[in-house]
Symmetry: C2
Subunit: 189 residues, 2 copies
């Protein structure tokens, strides 16, 4: 997705060889038109998958999930990183380790929002080691639903997430695949 690559080139900041800061357009301030273009790309890639629902994770996934849901005309749901005190009934949860943030946390989802047999499209902002995406896949499968695919905005292709998820048979669409952040330079596949 050329537009996204151009925005990353001009507006992202390289923090280290493994961390890219995209606060100005993706996960702190958000560019609506970019989100819409992202949603449309995911729709284009996954439109034959009979998607019943879009699933993402708070907080950075929400704008992406919403833009994607717009094109599929389906509801979207976001997993929570803390179980709120109003979440009742059957709750699906699993543990996710974030190496970027150096923490482990539980993600939770009310089981009423994913039905048995549905095709669920997972979307998220980053794919690095793949732990968040894998956690979302586990929630989908705990509900007896199918992972229709995984849509990622920015993939750090120098980390093993993509291979791990492909090996498990998931279909992945990454809109920008970063080969390297070395020497203070962003290079794409």
């Amino acid at each position: 997705m050329k537009k996204l690559q151009r925005i990353i080139k001009t507006r992202a900041q390289i923090i280290s060889e493994s961390i890219l800061k995209v606060d100005s357009f993706l996960n702190h301030q958000i560019d609506y038109d970019l989100m819409e273009a992202i949603g449309e790309e995911f729709f284009h890639y996954f439109k034959e998958k009979n998607v019943d629902r879009v699933l993402t994770i708070e907080a950075s996934g929400i704008a992406i999930g919403m833009a994607t849901a717009k094109f599929f005309q389906k509801p979207f749901v976001f997993a929570k990183k803390k179980k709120p005190n109003t979440m009742s009934g059957e709750v699906l949860s699993t543990k996710v380790v974030s190496f970027t943030k150096n923490i482990a946390y539980d993600i939770s989802l009310s089981s009423e929002f994913i039905n048995f047999g549905e095709n669920i499209l997972i979307v998220d902002d980053f794919l690095a080691r793949g732990n968040a995406a894998l956690g979302l896949c586990k929630l989908v499968e705990k509900a007896g639903a199918n992972v229709a695919g995984i849509g990622i905005v920015i993939e750090k292709s120098f980390q093993p997430g993509r291979e791990m998820l492909l090996a498990k048979g998931y279909d992945i669409c990454s809109l920008a695949r970063i080969k390297s952040l070395k020497n203070n330079k962003i290079s794409f596949y």
Copy 2:
């Protein structure tokens, strides 16, 4: 906003006399068409205010901020409840007490995303005692910007947030004003 009142009547669950669960359409699973209608209502109400930017708070505010930003054709930014390790430069922050969740937390915002003199429209899902909205107003004013107004999806009008914010001179647009949740019944103004 009649559509919103109808959805609240049919899909919200009364948890107690002060807590309403809106997980099925507003803050866990999200209905895209409803979000768009909400964004359009806020645009209609605040369109003369020369809004430069929309500000909300993670996580439940994000979909609302995005829908509002769509109509204003302006960027939106969400304050964070934890300072991420990629947030650098000057950070604006203030403390917010949540009575619903029974916790106090800091909200943070990179100062680069609110400029001196800008008109900032604040939007959020709920207004109860008004602490989250007031915290966002404080961030805006710390940046030397103006609060153009406060757009709220669901106001618990039996709690003092509205009066407190009106007394401070803020313009509030609440799309659904709940008078009472007593006797397991939702009544609106």
